[in-house]
C-alpha cells in the first residue's frame, strides 16, 4: 500500500474498484497533487478465481472451458493456444480444414474484441455515439459466431485435435456479407472518430511508450506495434494456418495512445483480409484428428505455446508429469505485463490522461487475476 503523503500537498485518490472506466475490477491507487498524478499503483486480484489451481485438479479436457473465461473477449484465441499446447504434448496432428476453421473463428473473435475496445474507449473519453456504432457491427459478428458455436461470449469451441462442428454455406455467405458491409463502414469510423479534432487532442503524444520500455517490461501486442516494433506472433512464430495467408502488420511511429488506436483499427481490416482468404482457400477434409485417445495422458514434459490475441501474446506453459491431470499450467496473459508499465507512464499526467492511457492498454482484468 502507498504511504499516505504526509505533506499537505498530496492526497490519495482511488480509481476503482468500481469505476466506469477501469474495464473490470481494477483499483489504481493514485497519489495526486492537484490534478497531477505523482504515483500510480495498480491493485489487482479482485477477480482471482484460481484458474491455475483449477488446472492442477482437473483433467486436460475438463480444464478446456476455463480458457474461455480467462479472457472472455477473445476466448477463441485462448482456446486455440491451450489446444495447441496439449496437441503438441499428445503429438496430435490437426487436419487442415480444422485449422482454417480455427483461424476464421479466431479472427472473427478478434474483431468483436477490438470493436468492444473502440466503443468502450471512446466512451471513456466522453463520446457516446461510437459505442453504439461499434456494438452494431459487433452484433453481426456475434450472430455469426453464435450460429456456428452456440455461444456469444465465453466460447469453448475447439477440441483437442480439431473442431467439433463444421461450417456450412450459410455461415460462409453470412461472413462474406458481413465483410462487405463492414468495409463500407470504415469511412464512418474515420469521419466520426479518427478525424475528430478533440479526439486527436486527447490522444496525440499521450502515454508514449518507447521501444526500450517495450523490451524491459515484456509488452506485447498493439502496445509494441504502436511503438514501431512489428512483432506479431502470427507472423513471427506462425502457428495454425496463418502461414498460408497474406496480411500486413500495422505499426505506429510514436508509441502514443493515438498510434495504439490506429494499430487496432487497421488490424481489424487485416483480420477481414485473413477471413476472406481463409474462406476462399478453405480445403475439404475432416475436421477432427483421427486417433484421439479416450483418456488423455500426455507423456511427461513441458511445452510453451503462444498465440497472438487481441491484447498481445498469450502463452500457455504446460508441465506434464505423465498424468491425466497437468502438473502445472501457467497462463502467461498479455494484460499482466501490459499493465505493469502503468506506474511508469502515469507519472506527471492528469487524471483524464490516465483514463486515456489505461484504456489504450486494453486490459481485461479477469485475465490479469485469473
Amino acid at each position: 500500500m502507498l504511504e499516505r503523503g504526509l505533506e499537505e500537498k498530496t492526497y490519495v485518490l482511488n480509481l476503482g474498484p468500481q469505476h466506469p472506466s477501469t474495464h473490470g475490477v481494477l483499483r489504481v491507487e493514485l497519489e495526486m497533487e492537484g490534478e497531477f498524478i505523482i504515483k500510480a499503483d495498480p491493485d489487482i486480484g479482485y477477480g482471482h478465481r484460481g484458474h491455475e489451481h483449477m488446472a492442477e485438479n482437473r483433467t486436460y479436457a475438463q480444464f478446456l472451458p476455463n480458457m474461455g473465461r480467462v479472457d472472455y473477449l477473445h476466448a477463441l484465441a485462448y482456446n486455440q493456444c491451450y489446444c495447441m499446447g496439449v496437441e503438441k504434448l499428445l503429438e496430435l496432428q490437426v487436419p487442415e480444414r480444422a485449422e482454417y476453421i480455427r483461424v476464421i473463428t479466431a479472427e472473427l473473435n478478434r474483431l468483436t474484441s477490438h470493436f468492444l475496445w473502440v466503443g468502450a474507449y471512446l466512451m471513456d473519453l466522453g463520446a457516446f455515439t461510437p459505442f453504439l456504432y461499434c456494438f452494431d457491427d459487433r452484433e453481426q459478428v456475434l450472430d455469426l459466431l453464435d450460429y456456428l458455436t452456440g455461444s456469444r461470449l465465453t466460447y469453448c469451441f475447439y477440441r483437442f485435435g480439431g473442431v467439433p462442428v463444421d461450417i456450412d454455406d450459410d455461415f460462409t455467405a453470412g461472413c462474406r456479407k458481413f465483410i462487405q458491409r463492414l468495409r463500407g463502414r470504415w469511412v464512418d469510423y474515420d469521419n466520426l472518430v479518427t478525424k475528430n479534432v478533440i479526439f486527436i487532442h486527447r490522444t496525440r503524444d499521450v502515454g508514449v511508450i518507447t521501444q526500450e520500455q517495450c523490451i524491459k517490461y515484456g509488452l506485447t501486442g498493439p502496445m509494441v506495434r504502436g511503438s514501431g516494433i512489428p512483432y506479431d506472433i502470427r507472423k513471427s512464430e506462425p502457428y495454425s494456418a496463418y502461414p498460408a495467408f497474406d496480411f500486413e502488420i500495422p505499426i505506429g511511429e510514436r508509441g502514443d495512445v493515438m498510434d495504439r488506436y490506429l494499430v487496432r483499427m487497421r488490424e481489424m481490416e487485416q483480420s477481414l483480409r485473413i477471413i476472406e482468404q481463409a474462406l476462399d482457400k478453405l480445403p475439404a477434409g475432416p475436421i477432427m484428428a483421427e486417433k484421439i485417445p479416450k483418456r488423455l495422458k500426455p507423456a511427461a514434459g513441458e511445452v510453451y505455446a503462444a498465440v497472438e490475441t487481441a491484447r498481445g501474446e498469450f502463452g500457455c506453459y504446460i508441465v506434464s508429469a505423465g498424468d491425466t491431470k497437468p502438473y502445472r499450467i501457467k497462463l502467461r496473459v498479455p494484460s499482466f505485463g501490459n499493465l505493469s508499465i502503468l506506474p511508469e507512464i502515469a507519472v506527471d499526467t492528469l487524471v483524464a490522461d490516465l483514463v486515456a492511457i489505461l484504456g489504450s492498454i486494453d486490459v481485461v482484468v479477469p485475465e490479469i487475476d485469473r
Partner: protein, 312 residues
C-alpha cells in the same frame, strides 16, 4: 395580477420544458446512435419522462453521513432558483414578457454566475473527493467561459445600444443579427455549451472519470433538481441566443410565441448534437481553449464591431 399569471406560467413552462427536453434528448441521442430510443410509454415514449420523474420522487433520499448538512441540502435549491428567476426578463413574444427591465441582460448573466456557487456548494458539502474535483473543475470552467460570453454579447449590445431584451429583439426587424455577426454566434454557442456544463465541456460531471462529479452523492429528488436546473439553464441559454441572434419572436405567418419556441428548440437541438458527436476535452485543453482562443477572438469581434458602429 399579470405578474402572478406570468410567474405561474413560467413555473409551468419550466416543468413542461424539462419533461419535453429530457424526452427530446433521449430521442435525438437515440437516432444519432442508430436506435429508436424510448418507445414503450406513450406515443414514441412521450410520457417516459413523467414515468421517470415519478420514479425519482419515490426514491429514498440518502444523505451520506459526514456531509456538511445545510450546505448539502441547500445546493440543489441554490442551483435551481437563479435559473428560474432569469425567466423574468425573457420576451416570449412582443407582449409576453413578465418584466421588461432595462438591464435585462445583466440580470440573466448575474444569475448564471450563481449556478457556479451552487455547484461548488454541492461538491464541497458532499465530503467526497470526486465531488470536490468536479466542483473545482466546474468553477474554473465557468469563470473561464463567462468572459468570452460576456464580451460576445457586448458586441450585440453595442449594435443595439440597450441592455433590454425587448429592445434587442426589436432592433432585428430588418435582419437578424446572426447574419452580421456569425463569429459572435459561434462563439456564443461554444460558451453557452460550456456554461451549461454540456459535452464536450461536461468535465464537472465526467462520468467516466469522476463517477458523477459534483452530484455523485445526490440521489432521488435532489438529483432530479440538478437535472431540472441543467435543462432549464439550457433553455435560458438558447432563449438568449434566440433573442440576440435569431430575431426573437419575429417571423412571418405564425404567431410570435410559436416562432420563439421553434428557434429556441432549434438552438437546443444544436447543443444536443454537440454532445453526441464529440468526445470530452481534457481540462487543461478546456482552459487553454477559453483563455487563448475564445477571449482574443471575442475581443477582436468587439473591437471590430465598435469600429464599424463608430464609422456609421
Amino acid at each position: 395580477m399579470g405578474m402572478l399569471a406570468g410567474v405561474i406560467g413560467v413555473v409551468t413552462l419550466v416543468a413542461v420544458n424539462a419533461l419535453f427536453l429530457i424526452w427530446m434528448e433521449r430521442k435525438v441521442s437515440a437516432h444519432m446512435q442508430l436506435r429508436p430510443g424510448p418507445m414503450e410509454v406513450g406515443w414514441h415514449g412521450a410520457i417516459q419522462t413523467v414515468a421517470d420523474a415519478l420514479k425519482l420522487m419515490g426514491k429514498e433520499l440518502i444523505t451520506p453521513k459526514d456531509v456538511d448538512r445545510w450546505v448539502y441540502l441547500a445546493a440543489p435549491i441554490v442551483v435551481f432558483l437563479p435559473v428560474l428567476l432569469s425567466f423574468l426578463v425573457i420576451p416570449f413574444s412582443q407582449s409576453l414578457v413578465i418584466r421588461d427591465m432595462n438591464v435585462g441582460v445583466l440580470l440573466i448573466l448575474a444569475f448564471a454566475a450563481l449556478t457556479v456557487l451552487a455547484v461548488l456548494m454541492a461538491g464541497w458539502a458532499s465530503n467526497n473527493k470526486y465531488s470536490v474535483f468536479g466542483a473545482i473543475r466546474s468553477v474554473a470552467q465557468n469563470i473561464a467561459y463567462e468572459i468570452p460570453l460576456l464580451i460576445t454579447l457586448m458586441s450585440i449590445i453595442i449594435m443595439v445600444g440597450s441592455l433590454s431584451l425587448v429592445d434587442i429583439v426589436n432592433a432585428q426587424s430588418q435582419y437578424w443579427f446572426v447574419l452580421v455577426q456569425p463569429v459572435a454566434f459561434i462563439l456564443y454557442l461554444t460558451c453557452a455549451t460550456a456554461e451549461t456544463n454540456r459535452a464536450p465541456f461536461d468535465l464537472p460531471e465526467a462520468e467516466s472519470e469522476l463517477v458523477a462529479g459534483f452530484h455523485t452523492e445526490y440521489s432521488g429528488m435532489r438529483f432530479a433538481l440538478f437535472f431540472l436546473a441543467e435543462y432549464t439553464n439550457m433553455f435560458i441559454v438558447a432563449a438568449v441566443a434566440t433573442v440576440f441572434f435569431l430575431g426573437g419572436w419575429q417571423g412571418p405567418f405564425l404567431p410570435g410565441i410559436v416562432w420563439f419556441f421553434l428557434k429556441v428548440y432549434f438552438v437546443i437541438f444544436i447543443i444536443m448534437w454537440f454532445r453526441w458527436t464529440f468526445p470530452r476535452v481534457r481540462f487543461d485543453q478546456l482552459i487553454t481553449f477559453a483563455w487563448k482562443i475564445l477571449i482574443p477572438l471575442a475581443f477582436a469581434n468587439l473591437i471590430i464591431t465598435a469600429f464599424i458602429m463608430k464609422l456609421r
